[in-house]
């Protein structure tokens, strides 16, 4: 993602000349972005610095400034870090599998080996149109030992048990997002000029060799983009595990960070939940930023 535009060689006086137009263009988004992105974030930070204080056991509760008290509580909260650990484990396994599958399918679609690419492209993308809640409900039925169309399998493998439920959820997420990621990678592949392959073909390189040595290196930027969005998505897991709570008691109310934030806010311990939100947002930001920087360095080297 480059941030500097090539400034077209036009005089700077434009800014003065078109001030009215710029206001029309920028104001609606600017106001909404400020109100519903920046202000909530600042407000959450403010709320996270408050603690509840009572005069004696039965006194009225009031909120007073408590500095970093809530943050200390977050760092001492085992459930919070366990849920972070759980989604990290989930991400380390699920994101590479999902992106690997998406890359494989995109490469096959782009190769001369496959006919009917239009059909496959749409078939693989269709699950993206299924909301996470609905996908989770559907797979909940498919995993069920009694209601599944594949009861022979679901009676032998306890998909909803404590050990497996995390990976059953991983499958739901993979099912929804492989096609979406595949399309982004496939679009990048389509943009590669055909001439690049000619030399390789003349040298007698097969499709696998062309894919490995030419295509994959050229779609690394698309992989980075999809990777970052996947990491963000993983840390924010909520809908799928929340739905699975109706199917199995093994998904607890602190299963993922967002579930824990939701249940903490409903206690209600709003300040602690706000502090958790801030820590989670920072963790997400740092992680995706790190991935971006690491991969940029590697591709430049």
């Amino acid at each position: 993602m480059s941030t500097d535009t090539p400034t077209r060689g036009k005089p700077k006086s434009r800014a003065v000349r078109h001030r009215g137009a710029l206001l029309v263009f920028l104001a609606p988004f600017g106001v909404l972005f400020t109100l519903f992105y920046i202000v909530p974030i600042l407000y959450a930070i403010y709320q996270s610095t408050l603690v509840v204080e009572r005069d004696g056991t039965f006194g009225a509760a009031r909120q007073v400034f408590g500095g970093l008290t809530q943050y200390i509580a977050v760092f001492q909260n085992d459930a919070f870090w366990q849920s972070i650990g759980r989604v990290m484990l989930f991400g380390i396994v699920q994101v590479p599998i999902m992106l690997g599958l998406a890359l494989l399918l995109a490469l096959l679609l782009d190769s001369p080996l496959v006919r009917g690419t239009k059909f496959f492209r749409l078939a693989f993308f269709a699950p993206y149109a299924v909301p996470g809640v609905i996908a989770a409900i559907m797979w909940g039925f498919l995993y069920s030992p009694n209601l599944s169309p594949f009861t022979d399998v679901t009676r032998a493998i306890p998909f909803l048990s404590g050990e497996l439920v995390l990976w059953s959820i991983a499958n739901v997420v993979t099912w929804v997002y492989v096609g979406y990621n595949m399309l982004i990678i496939y679009s990048a592949l389509l943009a590669i000029p055909q001439e690049i392959y000619e030399a390789a073909r003349l040298d007698g390189a097969g499709q696998a060799r062309i894919a490995w040595s030419i295509k994959i290196p050229l779609v690394v930027p698309a992989l980075v983009l999809t990777g970052i969005f996947s990491i963000i998505g993983t840390l924010q897991l909520l809908a799928e595990p929340q739905v699975f709570r109706s199917f199995t008691s093994t998904v607890t109310s602190d299963f993922t960070p967002n579930l824990l934030i939701y249940s903490t806010a409903s206690v209600p311990n709003v300040s602690l939940a706000a502090a958790m939100s801030v820590v989670l947002a920072l963790t997400t930001f740092i992680l995706s930023f790190t991935v971006l920087k690491l991969t940029q360095r590697r591709t430049q080297a």
Binding site: M1, D4, T5, K10, R14, A15, H18, G20, A21, V24, F25, L26, F29, G30, L32, F33, L35, F36, P40, Y43, A44, Q47, L104, S111, P112, L113, V114, R115, F120, L122, A123, F124, P127, A129, P131, G132, V133, I134, A135, L142, P149, W175, I184, S187, A191, Q194, R201, A208, A222, Q236, L238, A239, Q242, V243, N258, Y262, A265, A274, L280, T284
Partner: protein, 294 residues
């Protein structure tokens, strides 16, 4: 646009003939993947056509009596058509919300791409940071803010936050820089058209693929949004369809009859999205191509 109109690809007629074995292997992978992606949707469709009794007693992946329309009728009859209300709510949140979000994002992205003004890069970087802040991370802060002004449990609490699409700004800026020539804006200027008028009459046409892409992805994001309505709304009449189905699904153990409604409701809730995507694919695929590249 440009990526899609690239020279026709010489599929299968390359100078090196691929071996039959690798063709068969490739098609086998595609077939297995198709089964994986489509079987759950197929099952949902088949299950939606069955009577309650046939749901567990007949072959799960093939039709019994075709009862789809009776089931839809039963779903709409249930509790004064509350499901229809949820569908309309979702259509309003997602349809109107995505349309306005697209307009606002496109104007901002276009302004950043085509005009020089003080703080332009800083503004773009802040918005780019917004792309990295996921919607779910904002749900609780938004709830805290809305409860300060007593506006939780209203249409506005779900509708207003979904009008912001930082990704839309990012995409339309890239697209505008690449596909709206300065000469055309200049020509419109010489003809005496104002900047805003030029944007709406001339530039939006060139931005169309990007606009459709932004609209679709924002539409899906709002339609699928779960945390924000979950945390904001108490009144069932305001629910989007995903939240409504979620609540029904939590009640299946107490009211077993509701299971059939959850299944048919799930099917109905994904059909509008699938149709929209199929109908507009020519646009969003080229929009995606340009957005994913840079």
């Amino acid at each position: 646009m440009s990526a899609q109109t690239a020279p026709a690809r010489t599929k299968g007629r390359s100078s090196v003939q691929e071996s039959i074995a690798s063709r068969v292997l490739a098609m086998a992978v595609m077939a297995i993947a198709t089964l994986y992606f489509l079987t759950p949707i197929w099952w949902l469709f088949v299950a939606s056509t069955k009577t309650r009794g046939q749901f567990t007693t007949t072959a799960p992946l093939w039709f019994a009596d075709f009862n789809l329309f009776e089931n839809i009728q039963a779903l709409f009859d249930y509790r004064n058509a509350v499901f229809l209300r949820w569908l309309l709510n979702s259509a309003l949140y997602a349809g109107l919300g995505a349309a306005l979000a697209t307009l606002f994002a496109a104007m901002t992205g276009y302004a950043i791409a085509k005009y020089t003004f003080w703080g332009r890069n800083a503004l773009f970087n802040v918005i780019l940071g917004g792309v990295l802040v996921p919607a779910t991370a904002l749900a609780l802060p938004l709830f805290l803010l809305f409860s300060q002004i007593g506006a939780t449990n209203t249409y506005w609490a779900v509708f207003l936050p979904s009008l912001v699409s930082p990704f839309g700004v990012y995409l339309s800026r890239i697209y505008a820089a690449a596909s709206v020539p300065d000469e055309i804006i200049e020509a419109a200027r010489i003809d005496g058209a104002g900047e805003v008028k030029t944007f709406f009459t001339v530039s939006t046409r060139m931005l169309a693929p990007a606009l459709v892409t932004i609209f679709l992805f924002q539409f899906v994001a709002i339609w699928n949004n779960f945390f924000l309505p979950l945390i904001m709304l108490r009144d069932e009449a305001l629910f989007p369809v995903t939240l409504g189905l979620y609540v029904w699904n939590t009640q299946v153990s107490q009211i077993p009859d509701i299971r059939a409604l959850v299944i048919i409701g799930s099917l109905l809730s994904i059909i509008p999205l699938i149709i929209t995507f199929l109908g507009l694919q020519r646009f969003w695929q080229s929009g995606l191509a340009n957005g994913g590249l840079k």
